[in-house]
Symmetry: C2
């Protein structure tokens, strides 16, 4: 491709259940190893950001995303200590609750209150924006 180098494109997925709990994974790898994070990862070439979001959710938690709603785009050059990434964050629902850790996730958990947790990357910022977008999803 004759393109200039641009920030690496990633996606993150916020999933709330009916009780307002959020689905978090525990990171298996650096950076932020062992910290809680949103399911997500790099977008493949020849894949839309929506498809990447659904794929990452499935790979890391075994769950199937419902309709995706765009939360925002997060491109602060310092958001990832490895280098510059830009994440497209989506909000979704899932029909099932039986998440199972896979791929880059050491564990997966439905969390009622994520605020006391030290989340990876800028995921607390993404979660705050998701809650503003879907206030009725929180108790």
């Amino acid at each position: 491709m004759p393109f200039p180098t641009t920030p690496a494109l990633t996606t993150d997925c916020v999933v709330f259940d009916k009780a307002g709990r959020v689905l978090l994974i525990r990171r298996k790898n650096a950076p932020f190893k062992d910290r809680y994070a949103l399911p997500g990862g790099f977008v493949d070439v020849r894949e839309t950001v929506e498809d990447a979001c659904r794929r990452e959710l499935r790979e890391e938690t075994g769950l199937k995303a419902g309709p995706l709603v765009l939360i925002g785009v997060y491109s602060d050059p310092k958001r990832d200590p490895r280098g510059h990434t830009c994440s497209v964050a989506f909000l979704t629902r899932t029909e099932r609750a039986d998440a199972k850790a896979g791929d880059d996730a050491a564990a997966v958990k439905w969390v009622a209150d994520w605020r006391p947790l030290k989340l990876a990357f800028d995921h607390a910022k993404i979660l705050r924006a998701a809650e503003r977008l879907a206030p009725n999803l929180r108790p």
Copy 2:
């Protein structure tokens, strides 16, 4: 950067004036040479998508963007014939109307009705979404 290859990150900027006209450039280079398009371009590493949007608007039209509102993220692998790009599109206003073509723009024009034009890339789709977001901006 130890990152996998991801789609190239771009940004596009929809600017309406008070009369509801939209700011378009005429493309100087391939692909879509001579077609009308939204101002925009590639995001630099160590630059946020918002900063890239403001920079491209300034470089191509001489105008300064007002506050940016996210329209959407466009990542169809076929949107650019050169290869896979993902564009983050923003809506904005500008205080001044005296646009002046620069950089990749052969000409710049305020267009009252863009619908009869054959626009570059998926820019007609972006414009339709921008109009849905800001219906009061159209006559």
